[in-house]
């Protein structure tokens, strides 16, 4: 009984998180702002769902597989967000770095004399 209540509370929190993120994705102005609202749905809500399964089932096969899916999402989410942000910036500006200097110019900070030697 207590397990059911705790699991339902966790599921409710997960649904509220996803609903808020969905509204953020819908209402924000551009893709940069919308992308911030993907993270709660991709990281916070899966943790809550995995906790709900853990509370409901205990340490069981289903819990392990849910945690495995959670692990993949935790690994993939931030990397994917970064790649998306970078791709949007490249699409808009032609390069993801700020300013006009190219990468070799920015990386080579040694004086010109040393570089020519």
């Amino acid at each position: 009984m207590v397990r059911d209540v705790v699991a339902d509370v966790l599921l409710g929190l997960a649904v509220v998180t996803v609903a808020g993120s969905a509204l953020g994705v819908l209402l924000m102005r551009d893709a940069y702002q919308k992308l911030h609202f993907v993270t709660p749905a991709a990281l916070v809500a899966p943790v809550l769902v995995a906790l709900a399964v853990l509370v409901q089932m205990g340490l069981y096969e289903n819990t392990g597989e849910t945690c495995l899916a959670l692990f993949f999402m935790v690994i993939a989410g931030p990397y994917l967000s970064h790649a998306t942000m970078r791709a949007i910036r490249v699409r808009e500006k032609g390069d993801w770095r700020s300013g006009t200097a190219s990468w070799p110019e920015m990386a080579n900070t040694a004086p010109r004399e040393e570089r020519e030697q």
């Binding site: 059911d4 699991a7 339902d8 599921l11 409710g12 997960a14 649904v15 996803v18 609903a19 993120s21 969905a22 509204l23 994705v25 819908l26 551009d30 893709a31 919308k34 992308l35 609202f37 993907v38 749905a41 991709a42 809500a45 899966p46 769902v49 995995a50 709900a52 399964v53 409901q56 089932m57 096969e61 289903n62 597989e65 849910t66 495995l68 899916a69 959670l70 993949f72 999402m73 690994i75 993939a76 989410g77 990397y79 994917l80 967000s81 790649a83 998306t84 970078r86 791709a87 949007i88 490249v90 699409r91």
Partner: protein, 84 residues
């Protein structure tokens, strides 16, 4: 059937609708963001439905989708960056 998990799955499916609107009506970067959101929510929906119906075999679907989400997302992002 565990009712709480099924109800949560249905509620999360309803939450996909706003992202679907963005996917259909937004420009390409917004559509990619909406696609990532929908994929993340779908992983959870599959896990919730597997738990709701108490089928252990169904738990492999969210694991696979979570893994494929990473690869497919990168493919979309790379295509958007280079060719679209």
């Amino acid at each position: 059937m565990v009712l709480g998990f099924a109800a949560a799955a249905v509620a999360m499916l309803i939450c996909i609708i706003p992202a679907g609107i963005v996917l259909a009506r937004g420009d390409l970067p917004e559509a990619v963001v909406a696609y990532e959101f929908i994929t993340a929510v779908t992983v959870m929906v599959l896990a919730l439905l597997a738990q709701a119906f108490q089928r252990s075999s169904l738990f492999e679907l969210p694991v696979l989708l979570a893994l494929l989400m990473f690869g497919s997302g990168l493919v979309f992002v790379r295509a958007m960056e280079r060719w679209l």
